[in-house]
Symmetry: C2
Subunit: 531 residues, 2 copies
């Protein structure tokens, strides 16, 4: 398949004007710029995309579920049809290996089809019917029916570390389309070509299904201007973001301080604590060291679920563990990180730990890379509970292939450490049956700190399924009620709406007496598929 | 039953110190002060209540569903046991008739029992299980299970216009307890005695069930200090409020700008547009005038669902309608409003319309009441679409027994008027079958503007049931995804949490393999009660 990159924003079925600020892709492995030049959207283009999205919402939000599912499946098919063209461009723009991009592409398409299945099945709308009771005393009860409806046009921000699965046609876009929202994507400057390819796949799918102009737009921007303008635009009704804590918080603040505040789901920083309980440490020293090494270095440590804090009891076995893990880290080949900027932040975080009196450097692979390149090596640090508690910067995220071991003395100190944790996406517990028999208090603490607790495994690798929760209390996200992965994510972009004594033919199909879609509904408090 | 009012805040199982600022109940019908004096909570008391709520949350949030249901039922029983003592005090403090208070008390206790039933049944937690697939290629799938958990300690603000149903043991408190949250209530200064009676009922229920100290507190405050301190307190994780737009927005801003932002559900202003379509107007002129009169004047017009904008086509029948409604309004006896402050705001809103060149006064009952009293009369105004669109203050809420007719010319203008609406709790459409046959575009517009669409009825009178949605887009509420009435309200105070490869005995009962609670669960994408 050939595909011509235009360097332009996609504004509904039109292209951008090419008059905004310029930006350019970069190969972080070679430092070379990647053609074409991209042009940031102008204020007029932001307004146009928002107006189109609002006008398209009127009909798109009322499309039949089967048609919406077809749209999602067509997007997946169009992405797959891009084949190597997409894979190679994404790899060149991100430094991520082709195999990883292929896996991410499969995940992205699988995700789109999972939402298509969800929408086809249809019960996700939580339809509820409380039938009239005309004879009730003292007052008759009216007929009340309610369901979830899409919230309106949504802005989605691409993430640098997932050029496909959390970008143009990633989780937020898939769940927003599935819910019935129109979507404006703000491209990430780190992979503009990948964004355009996927953007064209989405636009083509919309055209193939003859959807209204404006169901989808993709806007470029070099700084924060375009993103903030979208979040503040009165026609935008919700937003989703994956990125830095400062960026996510700034956008959340913009969303919350609007004249009409809107929900803004920013996934920001998470250090993903791991607790290795004593018997597991003793019995599985090398096995856990290997597993953890794999998890810390996967994708050059550039996952929001990378385990960055590892709590271990201060025992001889823990020293052996540190030594095995240190050996693995020291012999890990260097990585190309996503961008020179991310590499530089990583090096800054690592250097600060290397020079900290509170921390010992167990392993550190220094890499000297040329300008425009983003090569970096692993780092393993170690400290004790007192130093960790006394230096708040040690609990902060270092995005990249590095982690920190914290040695504690005894169970009470471990529980105290757990209680001092901020919100995270995940927490992990390694324990034998004996360890687990006394871990209920630790689990209870972690339940209030994270979105997902992993047992005897590793937090990287997030399943896309019905039960997944990829979210967590602040600062992991700005809205700890929610997830950005899995079918629960559809709830982000919905609101409840209720009809009282509606004529049957004025109701959405989901609420009609005959249950024409055959979905599960809560009828007078009982789940039923009956008509 | 006798009950001694102490004038003190309730801080877990202790009483306040009586050292804060003083406030006093007032009978708005007579202007007399009501004993005892109440004392605002001090900063130390706010901190103490928050600390207790956080510490009680650890065990209360893990209480068995049956025990939580028992707590809710015991609160209802304790409120009922107060009998006339409560009814009379609430009536004296609010000017609302005893019969209305009795109805509201029944609703409040019914609401507590509905949540008890919901929690006993247990399926509301949205339990999901995606079982492991150890053979899956390229990677095995882990076992993933998730459900809703309570968000943490919650602050609930009492509303002046519902001294029971939206106050100490009202909807937000019931749904928060049902979800497993501990609750701190901020009393409303307009009914401190009622608040204390219900507060004692809740505290006694907690004692009877031997719940941990701090599950419930009730704090008094004269200004905004105590409320803002609670919303900003780091241990508080969500809030619920019903009241003014300025108050709700200020608290939402405080919640959103915290170092750790929290969800804040403020229900604020809603003018509840009514559309009377032409054939219905022609066929049911007097009937709709009577129904609307009842709805506008119910509870002295002091409902957030009071219809305050009535759109009618400019026809002779509409003039007849205005005249019938005007006659009913003019002969309506005067009301005692909730407080002298609310009366004064009402009079200000009415006077501004009386003196507006854009508005005609159809009926106006002026009432001269003495100091400290809150007597007021009805008012009916009329304008046309152009004047309405040109004077934005005409679309604002006037809280009290008044409404505004807007005459439009033709269907296109009606649709334009609908499109210009802000967010509201409700919209109402009166139409015959013929009217409805061409109303799909109006309904589609209203679906994106309100939480509940009422057909051929009146928006006052909110059913407490599974399907109810009492919410709506801003400025009706600060979070249009949600409802404050009905069992859907439990979702306000929850977050999603997920367990990966957890040992069965470390899971909550809701997610254990054997399904010991016998609840509905989504197992591998299929709803099932199986173990």
């Amino acid at each position: 398949m050939t595909l011509e990159l235009t360097g332009q924003s996609i504004i509904g079925y039109k292209s951008g004007s090419g008059s905004g600020e310029k930006l350019e892709g970069l190969n972080p492995a070679t430092g070379e710029n990647l053609k074409p030049l991209y042009y940031a959207a102008t204020n007029e283009e932001v307004n146009e995309a928002a107006s189109l999205a609002a006008s398209a919402f009127e009909s798109f939000s009322r499309l039949s579920p089967s048609k919406r599912a077809e749209f999602l499946r067509q997007i997946a098919a169009n992405i797959e049809a891009l084949g190597d063209v997409l894979t190679e461009r994404a790899s060149a723009e991100t430094g991520l290996p082709v195999a990883r991009i292929q896996g991410e592409s499969a995940r992205t398409c699988g995700q789109l089809r999972l939402f298509a299945d969800l929408v086809s099945e249809g019960s996700w709308v939580d339809a509820r019917i409380d039938r009239a009771m005309p004879e009730r005393k003292p007052l008759p009860r009216p007929d009340i029916r309610s369901m979830l409806r899409p919230v309106g046009p949504v802005v989605v921000f691409c993430a640098s570390n997932f050029p496909l699965a959390f970008s143009v046609a990633g989780g937020d876009t898939a769940s927003a389309f599935a819910a019935g929202c129109t979507v404006i994507v703000k491209a990430h400057h780190a992979h503009p070509g990948t964004a355009e390819m996927v953007g064209q796949a989405v636009r083509n799918a919309a055209k193939q299904l003859e959807l209204p102009d404006g169901v989808f737009s993709l806007l470029y921007g070099s700084g924060t201007g375009v993103g903030v303008a979208l979040v503040k635009h009165p026609l935008i009704k919700a937003g989703g973001f994956t990125g830095s804590r400062s960026g996510g918080r700034a956008l959340f603040d913009a969303a919350s301080s609007r004249p009409e505040p809107i929900p803004f789901y920013a996934e920001m920083s998470s250090v993903n604590p791991v607790f290795i309980l004593p018997e597991a440490m003793s019995e599985r020293t090398a096995q856990i060291a290997q597993g953890l090494h794999g998890s810390v270095t996967l994708g050059a440590g550039q996952f929001c679920t990378k385990p960055g804090l590892v709590f271990v009891e201060s025992t001889p076995k823990a020293s052996e563990f540190a030594s095995v893990l240190g050996g693995l880290m020291a012999t890990t080949p260097e990585f190309t990180m996503l961008t020179p900027g991310i590499r530089s932040s990583y090096e800054k975080g690592v250097s600060s730990r290397v020079s900290s009196a509170a921390v010992a450097t167990v392993a550190r692979k220094e890499v000297d890379c040329g300008p425009g390149k983003a090569t970096a090596g692993t780092a393993l640090f170690e400290t004790n509970a007192e130093s960790y508690l006394g230096n708040s910067e040690l609990s902060e995220e270092v995005f990249g292939p590095s982690t920190l071991l914290i040695k504690y003395s005894g169970r009470e100190q471990m529980l105290h450490l757990a209680r001092t944790l901020e919100g995270h996406l995940t927490a992990t517990v390694h324990g034998t049956d004996n360890d687990m028999a006394t871990a209920a208090d630790l689990i209870a603490i972690l339940e209030d700190k994270v979105g997902r607790i992993v047992f005897n495994g590793y937090p990287t690798g997030v399943e896309v399924c019905h039960a997944m929760v990829h979210g967590g209390p602040y600062p992991a996200t700005t809205d700890g009620r929610s997830t950005s992965v899995g079918t629960r994510a559809i709830f982000r972009f919905t609101r409840q709406i209720c009809y009282q004594n509606s004529p049957d033919n004025a109701l959405p199909d989901e609420l009609k007496a005959a249950n024409p879609l055959g979905i599960w509904r809560l009828v007078d408090g009982e789940l039923s598929k009956a008509s």
